[in-house]
Symmetry: C2
Subunit: 218 residues, 2 copies
DNA sequence: TAATTTCTGGATCGATTAATATGGAAGTCT
DNA sequence: AGACTTCCATATTAATCGATCCAGAAATTA
């Protein structure tokens, strides 16, 4: 769009990165414009508003950027070329590794990015809530696909499986932020997936071997 | 202590109740002094500070009050007169029912009460983090007690069981706040506890009957 | 009644919030 | 070169933040 005129002096992409780190670590409301501008190289208010519009608009950009990068650990959920169980397992293990990493704030931005909000910022909360709902739908679709492929038997305990997985998944944010390591989370995932395996149509004695050679992305 | 002088005109206990509802719904930082004072009957700043000292001191009182009332759903964890599995089950079901109830804000105050915090309020975050750690210790103690009583076999998958339960437990806050009903959470708990049962020393064929006649408190 | 204590309302503190306005320098395009 | 666009830095907006202070009213006890 902007092709003429004086070019911006700060790197917009790096600014988004810096804003992501701040919002991720402290949440939407506690992150002040002063902090944001400082993290972008002490840019002026005018530069900030010209580049991003508002704090909320910046946050929405940050969320999109997060989903397009870190959030890609959940991509297997919608990859229908993967066996459903592997899609779930890759998502869980990838998320565990991402959320517990020390190279950025721990936990998931979508879960904890706006969990404490004033009523006037309810739209921000709704944005993340919608994204979490998308995750639940993805998990549910995997389980239903497994049933359709005759890999899981249809039963009440299979019906509730997506809810268990979603609850555990969202709980990882709290655990990671409280210091749980990736190894511990990974071991928990291995054990949790037993709940999947005991609902398979033909239980294999050595099914647990599957959990070792499934790669983890990112 | 205060026996003479003009008595306070507002009900301090009701004020704590009102503050609990606000902090629970919006979190520590987004809840302003103005809101707090208004919820206590539009009391004056002087009355507020005379009665509570500061916003942070009030929050600490609120947390104690929360733990002594709503938080008592976790009491079974430290009740050694209960069989360990029943202690865990009562805690999970009681928490699910409490967190999903519509008579107060959903979710758990200890999990979401200060999840978005500025660095200067780190002590508030630490207060809740310590309480969460106490919960994890309680869950772990139950599992270890079950092993000591020869009700669970010692194994790697038993070792990780407390972490799975804690992650699920803390995830319930996110699910409840996003609208998951108590019935759904309850069904998920029933299925999750299968992970306990498959690690029992002598697996009973009709173990699942146990999940029906265990009472739920509060 | 007198003395004491603690309440109340209102004004106010400095700091910080997100957002806007202004004026001029800097760089791009024709 | 000249026109144009967009940048930057500095001030400043009104509102709100948590917290403090003071004067006077009110209720207790002696």
């Amino acid at each position: 769009m902007a092709r003429t005129g004086r070019p911006r002096e700060f790197d917009r992409d790096k600014a988004i990165d810096a804003a992501t780190a701040l919002f991720w670590a402290h949440g939407y409301e506690p992150t002040s414009l002063t902090q944001l501008k400082a993290s972008m190289g002490h840019i002026s208010p005018a530069s900030f508003y010209a580049a991003f519009g508002s704090k909320e608009a910046l946050f929405r950009e940050v969320v999109q950027h997060y989903l397009a990068t870190y959030g890609q650990v959940m991509a297997p959920l919608w990859d229908e070329s993967l066996p459903p169980r592997e899609a779930i397992e890759r998502t869980l293990r990838g998320s565990a590794r991402m959320q517990a990493a020390r190279t950025h704030p721990t936990g998931c931005l979508v879960v904890s990015g706006a969990s404490n909000c004033s009523p006037e910022n309810e739209p921000v909360q709704a944005l993340l809530a919608a994204e979490r709902q998308r995750t639940r739908a993805g998990i549910k679709a995997c389980v239903e696909r497994a049933i359709a492929r005759n890999e899981l038997k249809a039963s009440p305990s299979t019906d509730i499986l997506p809810n268990i997985l979603a609850t555990f998944f969202h709980g990882m944010t709290c655990e990671a932020r409280d210091g749980m390591t990736v190894d511990t989370l990974d071991a928990a995932i291995t054990s949790l997936l037993t709940l999947w395996d005991i609902n398979t149509v033909k239980p294999l004695k050595n099914r647990q071997k599957n959990t070792e050679n499934t790669g983890v992305r990112l």
